[in-house]
């Protein structure tokens, strides 16, 4: 009875949670990521390349609203480097003593600069399609990193007979297969600062690693603490079992 109930409980959990997760989305191939698993960490070099791709290929249309320039130290940059990166951007500030708004160079405590002042401007600039904010992209899509990688590398010619809508591109993994975003990555479309060869696969891996970090910058702290907590709890439970056995010795 006990075992049966235990396994039933486990089955309930698996069935319910599994089905909740499986809801929606397209089957995507699994890949290996530096940040997977209990000991996974974000690959710093890959993230830095990813930042370069975001800056050169994505930031023209996609915002990254939840990231501050100061967060770039997470990528392995020094504070001075983050400051220099920020200084390349201009942000609006004010009002000053005359009551005027003015622009100044961005500082580390500023957020990443949006490409468009608001959603309507973004739509107007993109044939009516709104390029989504990328801050939580990896957490906000079923399949996460695997899905984004598949999407970025999944552009193809539309199969014969597909009725493509005006301005749409065919993608193997996008739900409905017709995506407004033109293929954002191309072979050697970027010149990496660290000299890595910029294949489409390499670029997709780098930008997804960067976006995975943007989605959950505290993941490394979470896993590191998790390992300590697990070890503590397992030892504690072991001792509690021993105490319980001692206490119940005279009853059984």
């Amino acid at each position: 009875m006990r075992k049966a109930m235990m396994s039933a409980a486990a089955a309930v959990l698996m069935a319910l949670s599994g089905s909740a997760l499986a809801a929606g989305g397209v089957e995507v191939p699994e890949r290996e990521w530096s940040f997977e698993g209990v000991f996974g960490t974000y690959d710093r070099a890959s993230m830095q390349r990813g930042l370069q791709i975001y800056k050169e290929s994505c930031s023209g249309c996609h915002s990254l609203n939840l990231i501050y320039f100061r967060n770039l130290t997470d990528l392995g940059y020094t504070e001075a480097q983050a400051k220099a990166f920020a200084a390349e951007y201009e942000v609006q500030d004010g009002p000053n003593d005359e009551g005027e708004m003015y622009t100044r160079a961005a500082i580390p405590s500023d957020r990443f600069v949006k490409p468009f002042p608001n959603d309507n401007a973004a739509r107007a600039g993109n044939n009516g399609a709104l390029p989504p904010d990328l801050s939580l992209m990896v957490e906000a899509r079923p399949g996460g990193a695997n899905y984004l990688y598949a999407l970025l590398t999944g552009y193809a010619d539309a199969p014969a007979g597909t009725d493509m809508m005006e301005g749409m591109n065919y993608n193997n993994y996008f739900p409905g297969h017709q995506i407004a975003m033109a293929p954002p990555l191309s072979e050697d479309g970027i010149e990496y600062e660290d000299g890595t060869k910029a294949t489409v696969a390499q670029q997709a891996e780098d930008i997804v690693t960067f976006l995975a970090w943007a989605s959950e910058p505290n993941m490394e702290a979470r896993k590191k603490m998790g390992i300590k907590v697990m070890i503590f709890l397992i030892v504690l439970t072991g001792i509690l079992i021993a105490v319980k056995k001692r206490v119940w010795a005279d009853v059984h």
């Binding site: 100061r70 580390p108 405590s109 503590f232 030892v235 001792i239 001692r246 206490v247």
Partner: protein, 183 residues
Amino acid sequence: MADTATSPETGDEDAGRRDFLALAAGGMGVVGAASFAWPLIDSMNPSAEVLALSTVEVNIDPIAEGQSITIVWQGKPVFIRRRTADEVAAAKKGDGEDLRDPQKDGDRVQNDTWLVMIGLCTHLGCIPLGQKGTDPKGEFGGWFCPCHGSHYDTSGRIRKGPAPTNLPVPPYKFVDDKTILIG
């Protein structure tokens, strides 16, 4: 649960069970509870985006002699006063007086003309008057706190009233002749 249960004062047979194992379990329970409590408490400390805003740059060029401005740094008012020669002289003279919180004027300023300090009365945190020309400035010509009657001199030192210490000077530096960076 084990560590929250009250231990009985009746009977001595329980004493035998308080062996090493139970002690270890109880000890670990206390450590575990404390390690759970710390993140909860620490979450109330200033968060990363608050800490990132801990410095502020101020343009002091437009301030005329004998004028003050108040700016906000870390949520607190900071007084920046361009002192007159008379005020500086009064402040230097005060060095020799019997002070509650003895401090030389020279130790409170980086440049005799510019007095920078946090404008919160050290008694109970009201903002002293004296920033505007029409404000009462107290018996020592500096600032006067209307809440409980503390008088500060032209160096921001406490001279009379209940406040225990001088108005504190925040960390700051002159970036150039016209700009100071506070924090």
